[in-house]
């Protein structure tokens, strides 16, 4: 999984988005409006239809 840009189609919370994308056990960061955060630090943040979100996976090497 690389960095993915997601356009939000309908209002929802970060928690709902993560569940929908089945990413609850995947280490990721999210970027929204220039702010980067861990999803579980902003679970209740509202995402609005039309928002563009960047899903940034955290990757281990070696």
């Amino acid at each position: 999984m690389g960095i993915e840009k997601i356009e939000i189609k309908e209002d929802k919370t970060v928690r709902e988005l993560i569940a929908e994308l089945n990413l609850s056990s995947v280490p990721i960061l999210l970027e929204l409006e220039g702010e980067v955060f861990y999803p579980d630090d902003r679970h209740d943040r509202r995402l609005k239809a039309g928002d563009t979100l960047m899903v940034i996976p955290i990757v281990a090497g070696g």
Binding site: I3, E31, G61, G62
Partner: protein
């Protein structure tokens, strides 16, 4: 493939091996990345941690120690005073000792908090070099595996991980057991494998780290730090033999695809 604009690369020394020369790494990145500014920032704790936050940070560090590599750490036990005090001294730069295994993803998360909010972006590549050894949990075989690096914001490259994470030749482990049983000196064993793997304070360390720094750069550019080509510096080596070949032995630095990507330079933010 995502191709953003790269603004700046910051290199931090969080107690990495003394053989590591960050200026040499910075000069290498300058050659490879042309227009992108490269800045050596030194110790991130000294830069960003206020005196009143040191104890909280030390407690955080002490609480992400892995005590048993076969048990997933969910919420660790409350760390002991001595463990917190060790981390406090480590943060203050009063010791560079190592020998503790940390959860790599949690460590990355603690380091994330150190980065100024306005620089938490893929336009900035933050690379923390450390001698802390870290591991990540593998759900398939239900155990932690030591890692060389974690790529995120920031990316972390472990000079201890470069020694310990990629496996040494199988014969080495067999002979090591025999040496230990016979009470023979391990340096003698290491001498017989000279050059086959990266060791502590290895004179080749800087050359190896250049490739890992480029993995962090590619992570920020395209979200994927790795390449399938075993001769490319972006190859994700799981064996020391692979690491030595990709970083030191290959006839080329980067595969044709990644060479072209670097040469195009479209990703550099115009300054």
């Amino acid at each position: 493939m995502r191709v953003p604009r790269l603004n700046r690369v910051f290199l931090y020394d969080e107690g990495a091996a003394q053989a590591l020369n960050l200026e040499e790494i910075a000069n290498y990145l300058r050659k490879k990345l042309g227009k992108v500014a490269i800045e050596v920032r030194g110790n991130p704790f000294a830069l960003y941690l206020s005196p009143e936050s040191i104890l909280d940070c030390a407690r955080g560090m002490a609480s992400i120690k892995i005590h048993d590599a076969t048990r997933r750490m969910l919420s660790g036990p409350e760390p002991l005073y001595g463990e917190i005090d060790y981390e406090r001294r480590r943060i203050l730069g009063k010791t560079r000792a190592f020998g503790i295994l940390y959860d790599g993803l949690e460590l990355q998360r603690l380091f994330f908090k150190l980065i100024p909010r306005e620089e938490r972006s893929l336009q900035f590549v933050h690379i923390f070099f450390t001698n802390r050894l870290f591991a990540t949990w593998d759900e398939k075989d239900k155990r932690y595996h030591a890692r060389t690096s974690v790529y995120g914001i920031p990316s972390i490259i472990s000079t201890t991980g470069l020694v310990e994470a990629p496996a040494k030749p199988r014969e080495y482990y067999l002979l090591k057991q025999q040496f230990e049983m016979l009470g023979k000196d391990l340096p003698e064993l290491k001498d017989s494998f000279k050059g086959a793997f990266i060791d502590y304070e290895d004179e080749r360390l800087n050359e190896v780290v250049k490739g890992y720094a480029m993995q962090a750069v590619f992570y920020s550019l395209v979200g994927d730090p790795f390449c399938q080509d075993k001769g490319c510096r972006l190859y994700n080596a799981h064996w020391q033999e692979e690491l030595v070949f990709a970083q030191l032995g290959s006839d080329y630095e980067f595969c044709p695809r990644h060479t072209k990507f670097l040469e195009d330079g479209e990703w550099a933010l115009k300054r």
